[in-house]
Each structure stands twice: as structure tokens, then as C-alpha cells.
């Protein structure tokens, strides 16, 4: 089995490559820059014809690859419509076209997100994709379009695995970026600013750690997943308050999470002034409601998340340049 990990130099991609190698699988990483040092690597770009591979690399991929993981894209909730659709929708369309030219393809896995379901009001299952949801931002819409295309590619052996926010130390030891996704709240929280969360943050965070997420992807390749959709999150179901508190613990602080509905009205005005990105505001309320059996699609035994991975996330955010925003937020007070 030879696995092509498209976007394998990224945060989750690198973890998937490590997990594959631990299972004894040959891996090949496709990335724009290269340089992860984890595996044999080819340069490419999902927005270019033929994924931008050189003739030699394209021949190599066609000759050897039997499994593919699609884990490219940016987890940036502030993406513009063009960026979101280019990387997620057009990138996926290009990749699916490329997969059709792989003669030995047995299984492909598309990394999706629970956020494709937007802020749907009903309880959703793995089967659901369009449930009349509203999208909070273009990232959610881009991921929705990507999963839609994967589901429509009925001629390909490709399934999707949906994750919530993925946290934990970077598998390559790189500093964790606190500019995108849930981690973008970190500078404001460690700066000591009070942040309103509905119900005081006592709602499901749907987070998981990067190592167990990678193991689920490898299971999806080896079982294999077929054309199904799986969902994975930490079975312990930590609440948002717990996750944020643990992450701030890595900074030696306790976040000031409050339940003040009156703040909702002024949040748009207030958020940028305390360093909280506006795109995080829609996530201050419970995200979505999942059927209790969504995890059952993942074959047992389930991977066990790393111990105290939220704390490790906060701690590793301190170690690199990406963490400099936090002291600034503190200074403003």
C-alpha cells in the first residue's frame, strides 16, 4: 500500500504521514513548498492542472499510489469567498479529476469538517449534508462544497471523515499558530479579557487531538471507509469551557469566561477592540447537535486521545513566533 497525502506537510497532514509510517505504509507527500522531511515528497498545487506535478512525479504517482488522503486547505474562518472556493471547492474538483487517472486507486479519504453542517438547528447524522443550514463564514461553505463534490463523485472509491477543531502539539514540533480557528481566541483569553460564551461555555466543543484524528484517517484507509462518511471527536466530549481553560493553563492563566447575554449586542463592536477576531463570534453559542451514534461508524478499537492535549496545545503555542499576539493583548489592558 502506497499512500499519497495531499497537503501532507500541514498540521494534520504531517500527523497522518507519521501514523501511516507507524503502520508500515509507504507514504508520498504532495505539498506546495515541500520540506517537511517526513517522507518522500513531491511538489504540486491542487489549483493547477494535473495538480501541478512534473511529468516524472506524475508518472511516479500513477505507478505506485493505491491510497490517497485529501488534507489540503486552510482552517481559516476568515477566508474570503474566493479563497474558500478556490482551495476547497476548485481544489477538490481538480483532485477528484486527478484521482480518476490513477489506475491502482483502491481508497481515498477526504478530510472534511463538522462545520459543513453550519449552524443547523436539527440533530444531524453522518448521512446528512444539506439540512437547510446557515453558514457562519466562507470556510464552512467551502468545506460544504468540497464534501458535496466528494459525495457526488460516485465513480470514485472515496469517503469523508469529519472532524471538529483539531488541537494538540504539532507532530513536527513547529509552533502552533494562534491566528486561525478556535486558537485565535487564545490571545484574548490569556490576556485576561472577559469573553462571553452562551451557557458559560458548557456546551460540546467537538474537539479532538491531532494524533487520534490521524489514526482514524489511517483506519479509514485500511478498513477501508469505502464511500461512507465518518465523524470523529474526543469521545470524552470536553466542553468548550474545559478546552479553553486547559489551553490557558499552558499559559499559567485562568480564562474569564462569562455568560452575559447582554454582551451579544455589543460583541461586534467590542471584539476587535480586545483582539478577538470577529469570525469567532458566531461560535460563542453551541455549534450543532449530533446524533449519539455518529461515532459508531468508526471501527473499534477507537484511538485514545493524548493525555492533556488541550494543555499541550496552549503550551506549544507559547514556544514560537505565532504566540507573540498574546502578550500584546495583555498589554492593551
Amino acid at each position: 500500500m502506497s499512500v499519497l497525502v495531499i497537503g501532507g506537510s500541514g498540521y494534520l497532514g504531517a500527523a497522518i504521514v507519521s501514523a501511516c509510517q507507524r503502520r508500515g505504509l509507504d507514504t508520498l507527500v504532495l505539498s506546495r513548498q515541500g520540506g517537511s522531511g517526513l517522507s518522500h515528497e513531491v511538489k504540486g498545487d491542487v489549483l493547477r492542472p494535473g495538480l501541478g506535478l512534473s511529468i516524472t512525479d506524475a508518472d511516479l504517482v500513477r505507478a505506485e499510489v493505491t491510497e490517497v488522503v485529501l488534507t489540503f486547505g486552510s482552517v481559516d474562518w476568515g477566508l474570503s469567498p474566493a479563497q474558500a472556493q478556490a482551495i476547497h471547492a476548485s481544489g477538490t474538483a481538480n483532485t477528484l479529476a486527478f484521482l480518476r487517472g490513477l489506475p491502482s486507486l483502491r481508497q481515498a479519504v477526504h478530510i472534511s469538517s463538522l462545520l459543513v453542517l453550519g449552524d443547523s438547528e436539527q440533530r444531524v447524522s453522518n448521512r446528512d449534508l444539506f439540512v437547510g443550514q446557515r453558514f457562519r463564514n466562507w470556510y464552512e461553505y467551502g468545506k460544504y462544497r468540497a464534501e458535496r463534490q466528494v459525495r457526488d463523485a460516485s465513480d470514485l472509491p472515496i469517503g469523508s471523515v469529519r472532524f471538529g477543531p483539531i488541537i494538540g502539539s504539532d507532530p513536527l514540533g513547529r509552533p502552533i499558530s494562534v491566528t486561525h480557528g478556535l486558537l485565535a481566541a487564545l490571545p484574548t483569553l490569556v490576556g485576561g479579557w472577559p469573553v462571553h460564551l452562551d451557557e458559560g461555555g458548557e456546551f460540546d466543543s467537538w474537539v479532538t487531538d491531532v494524533a487520534s484524528a490521524a489514526k482514524v484517517v489511517v483506519t479509514a484507509l485500511t478498513e477501508p471507509i469505502g464511500r461512507e462518511t465518518w465523524t470523529w471527536y474526543d469521545p470524552e466530549r470536553p466542553t468548550m469551557r474545559q478546552v479553553l481553560t486547559d489551553m490557558c493553563r499552558g499559559w499559567g492563566t485562568v480564562p474569564r469566561i462569562i455568560d452575559a447575554p447582554s454582551l451579544r449586542r455589543v460583541n461586534r463592536w467590542l471584539a476587535p477592540r480586545i483582539g478577538l477576531p470577529a469570525e469567532l463570534l458566531p461560535y460563542c453559542a453551541p455549534w450543532l447537535s449530533l446524533h449519539a451514534d455518529v461515532l459508531d461508524s468508526v471501527p473499534q478499537p477507537w484511538p485514545i486521545p493524548d493525555r492533556d492535549y488541550a494543555f499541550a496545545t496552549g503550551a506549544s503555542a507559547r514556544t514560537g513566533p505565532a504566540s507573540t499576539a498574546a502578550p500584546q493583548a495583555r498589554c492593551r489592558r
Binding site: P81, A82, A86, A97, F130, F135, Y141, R148
Partner: protein, 504 residues
């Protein structure tokens, strides 16, 4: 290039003397016969003057025996860039750059003549009047289409009964209809610029990434071209789409020397199934925007994009009617010339008005020889894309724009496929149409294409509007179209204007 202008040229405006082929350059032949000019430029001039008069009153600068808004120089049709930029300054909140971006490939505008600007109150009333006129466009288009259809029927009947009198009747009746078609085209073309500027400013205040969202939302729901192409296939020369198989703008497209300048882009894509434009249940970006915004913001955003999109559709509709009227003349004029005993092709050197007056003033036909010589000289003179005649001596100098246009996306999305040049066979794989310029006659190919890469074009070019309707990404202003090897893999980003070429 210091060469005196030839005698077929239109008189120059005393103040506005910077010209640009602009939108003409994208879709019309490089040179037009005098007859075609009289069917295109003259009614456009009348229509624009009349519009300016209704909006801002009878300003002295917009009157006179010379042409103000268009020009026919060296047999090449031009827009008067200086005059249009002056019009832009007559609308509150609008800048000349808005006009050049919309229709003149982003070239630099000429200097302002502040003394000729209308006072602020007049400008405000002008903007209000423009919106009021826009509200009437739908009804006017419907009425006009009926009148065009009657004339199309009239010319066919006149040919069947072979009656010179009937032909003259059609020629007489056609004048007002042709004027109305061009007047509506001018109105919708002009209105798009302030509407888009207003949309840009409103979106910037209401939503993040406003300009990109406007790109996504400004899609005409239905353009007239589909109907006309279908009619062309089903009814041939006897339906309203009869003009589709001819070249646009030039009525003497089968006669020398004009045939050598005609532009035909038409491609037949009926042999291949259309590309998949999405799946059942897929949510379009417009719906996604609506779901992201609070109700009142969503309503404002949708209303503005609907207005812009409907005006785009109206612009295409009015152009189709003008092209149908040109086709009426294309069918009519050779027979009329035979009725008048004019030598072969002589009618192409006359103006429409002269042709209709020859029965009463036969001496007009003696102008043909002098004008033919003038045209021969003009056709031998290279005419630049942008023309600066402001020195007053009539020397031909290119307009030295401060910045040159760059490639830019005019219809959003990312497309990847094999380059399809003008005369290539349509391959059985995803294609990117690669062309120097494009007009509505390319419409049958668009459902098959993953994108369009065009050398010429602006934000509101016809190809940009068509690409939006078909949800096909489009990049214009790409200068190296001729360098793209056949079969190259091309990817384009219709939002950022990024283009990647991979040689086969």
C-alpha cells in the same frame, strides 16, 4: 505616426480629443465601412446626446455639428474617452476610473475640464433621473423587440414580393427603431457604471469581502442570447436569430475590403454534452451569502445585486436588438442599391441617410468615388488603440496612458482545462477557451467550458457578462494569448486574475 487624418473622419470636439477603441475594440471589427458606421456610430451619438440632455440639460459642450461621444477616425470606430470621463464626473460619487475600469480596460483617464462640470444640484438630479429611466427599461425593451420583429418580417416580405417601394418603407421605418435600440444600449451601458460603484461602496460598509461577494452575486439570471442561438438553430435565417451566423457590427461583411476586417467568433458546441455545473441540492454562493447575513442586510445586498444583474441582462438584450436591426439593413441595402442602379459595393461607402435621400437627390451617389479613395488611404494608415488628438493639428498620436491594463478576473471561480484556441476542434476533456476577443456569438461554447481567458476585455465586457451568466470563470487582459501552445493545460482564477500555463 504623424499622418493627417483622412477625409472620412468625423469632426473633432473642440475640447474632448482623447479617444479609445474601448468596448468597440473588444467586439467590433478594427475598421468599419462608412455605411456600418452610420448605422452604429451615428445612432449611438444621438442616443448619448439625448441621454445627457435628459439628465443634465442642454450643456453647450454636448451640442454642435461635430461628434461628441464617438468618433470615426481612419475608418476605425472610437469612443471619446475624454467625453465619457467627463460624464462620469457629472454623477455624484463616480470617478473616471470607474468608467475606464468598466469599459476601457483600465487605462488612465484624460485630464478633467472642471469648467464644463454641471453644478452639484444638477448632478444630483441627473443621478435621480438616471435611476428613473432605468426603471422603464424592461417595458421599453419588450416594445422595441416587437417593432424589431415587425421590421424583420417586413424585410422578408419586401424581398419575396421584390418591391423597391416596400424596401424603402422598411428603410424609413427602421431609422427610429435602430435609434431606440442604440439609445437603450447606451442607457444600460452607462447606468451599469454608477450602479456598480454604488454597489461597491454599499457592500464595503455592510459586509466583509464586499467586492468578492459582488462578483459572486452579479449574475444575470437569463440572457437573451440563449433564446436567439436556439432560434438560430431551429429557424435559420427566418427567425430572430438569423443574424447570429453573420459578423456583428459590419453590414458589408461579404464585400471587400470590409470582409477582411470582420470578426467571427462563433463556435458550435452542440456536439458535446454541457459540463456539470453543480449537483442536486448544492447551495449556490448567493444562497450562502443570504444565510450569513442578518435579514435587512441580506435584503439590501440581494436587491443591489439583482439591479446590477438585471441591468447587465438589459444591456445584452438591447445589444441583440441593435444587432438584429443591423441585420435588417444587411439584408435590405444590397437590394436597395440594385434598385438605385449603384455599382457593386458602392453602397458601403454611403451613409444610411444618403442612401435614403438618393431618389430625391441623385447627385449624392457621386460621393462614392471620393469616399472610396479616402477609405483606401485610411485603411492603409495604422490606427492606435487609444488616440490622443489634443494637439489640435490632427496628427495621430497614441494616448499615453499612465498605466497599462493588467490581467484581471471578471467572472469568479477557478477553472482548469486544456486551452481551446479559435479554430481548434472541441476536445473531449475540460476546456479553457483562449481568445483575443469574444462576443455573444461564443455563447454556445460557454456551457462546455471550465473558463475563458481573453486578451481583451473589461469588467462589463459582453464576454464578462456572459461568463457570469454561465458561471464560468473569466480572466481578461491576458497579453500572451498567442503564446499559449495548443493543448497546453491552463488554470485561471476569475477573482484574482491569476493564470497558470503548463505546456503539454
Amino acid at each position: 505616426m504623424d499622418q493627417a487624418l483622412t477625409s472620412v473622419d468625423t469632426d473633432l470636439h473642440p475640447h474632448f480629443r482623447v479617444f479609445s477603441a474601448g468596448n468597440f475594440g473588444e467586439v467590433a471589427p478594427q475598421r468599419l465601412s462608412p455605411m456600418s458606421w452610420s448605422l452604429v456610430g451615428e445612432p449611438m451619438e444621438r442616443g448619448t446626446r439625448e441621454l445627457a440632455r435628459r439628465l443634465w440639460g442642454s450643456a453647450p459642450w454636448a451640442t454642435g455639428s461635430h461628434f461628441v461621444f464617438v468618433g470615426y477616425l481612419g475608418c476605425r470606430p472610437y469612443h471619446n474617452l475624454a467625453a465619457y470621463c467627463h460624464l462620469a464626473r457629472s454623477i455624484p460619487g463616480l470617478e473616471p476610473d470607474d468608467v475606464t475600469r468598466a469599459y476601457f480596460e483600465g487605462i488612465a483617464p484624460p485630464p478633467d475640464l472642471k469648467a464644463l462640470r454641471p453644478p452639484p444640484l444638477r448632478r444630483a438630479f441627473g443621478a435621480r433621473s438616471l435611476l428613473a429611466e432605468l426603471a422603464q427599461v424592461g417595458d421599453r425593451l419588450r416594445c422595441l423587440e416587437q417593432r424589431v420583429a415587425e421590421l424583420e418580417r417586413g424585410v422578408r416580405e419586401a424581398q419575396v414580393v421584390d418591391s423597391a417601394l416596400a424596401r424603402y418603407g422598411v428603410l424609413r421605418d427602421a431609422e427610429a427603431v435602430l435609434d431606440d435600440a442604440w439609445a437603450l444600449h447606451i442607457l444600460t451601458t452607462s447606468a451599469l457604471v454608477p450602479l456598480r460603484a454604488m454597489q461597491r461602496r454599499t457592500y464595503d460598509r455592510l459586509i466583509a469581502h464586499g467586492d468578492e461577494i459582488a462578483h459572486e452575486l452579479n449574475r444575470p439570471r437569463e440572457l437573451v442570447w440563449d433564446r436567439l442561438h436556439a432560434a438560430s438553430r431551429a429557424q435559420g435565417d427566418y427567425g430572430p436569430g438569423g443574424f447570429i451566423s453573420t459578423s456583428f457590427y459590419e453590414v458589408a461583411d461579404s464585400l471587400d475590403p470590409w470582409a477582411g476586417f470582420t470578426v467571427r467568433h462563433r463556435r458550435d458546441g452542440a456536439t458535446r454534452p454541457a459540463r456539470s455545473t453543480g449537483s442536486t441540492g448544492s447551495i449556490e454562493p448567493a444562497e450562502a451569502v443570504a444565510s450569513m447575513l442578518p435579514k435587512w442586510r441580506s435584503r439590501v445586498v440581494q436587491a443591489m445585486s439583482t439591479t446590477v444583474s438585471d441591468t447587465m441582462a438589459a444591456r445584452e438584450h438591447s445589444k441583440s436588438l441593435a444587432m438584429r436591426m443591423l441585420h435588417v439593413h444587411r439584408l435590405l441595402l444590397p437590394s436597395l442599391a440594385a434598385d438605385l442602379g449603384l455599382s457593386d459595393g458602392a453602397w458601403t461607402y454611403l451613409l444610411r441617410r444618403e442612401m435614403s435621400e438618393i431618389p430625391l437627390r441623385p447627385e449624392l451617389q457621386h460621393r462614392v468615388d471620393a469616399r472610396r479613395s479616402a477609405c483606401e488611404r485610411a485603411l492603409a494608415t495604422p490606427m492606435p488603440e487609444h488616440l490622443d488628438l489634443s494637439d489640435g493639428r490632427g496628427d495621430i498620436r497614441p494616448w499615453q496612458a499612465e498605466h497599462t491594463s493588467t490581467q484581471r478576473g471578471v467572472a469568479p471561480g477557478v477553472g482548469t482545462g486544456v486551452a481551446l484556441q479559435d479554430h481548434d476542434e472541441v476536445p473531449d476533456e475540460p476546456i479553457i477557451i483562449v481568445c483575443t476577443s469574444a462576443d455573444a456569438d461564443i455563447a454556445p461554447l460557454l456551457p462546455l467550458a471550465e473558463g475563458v481567458l481573453c486578451e481583451r476585455g473589461s469588467e462589463f465586457s459582453h464576454i464578462a457578462i456572459l461568463s457570469r451568466e454561465y458561471s464560468v470563470p473569466c480572466v481578461v487582459g491576458y497579453r500572451d494569448v498567442s503564446q499559449i501552445p495548443p493543448g497546453a493545460a491552463v488554470s485561471i482564477n476569475g477573482t484574482t486574475g491569476e493564470v497558470n500555463i503548463h505546456a503539454p
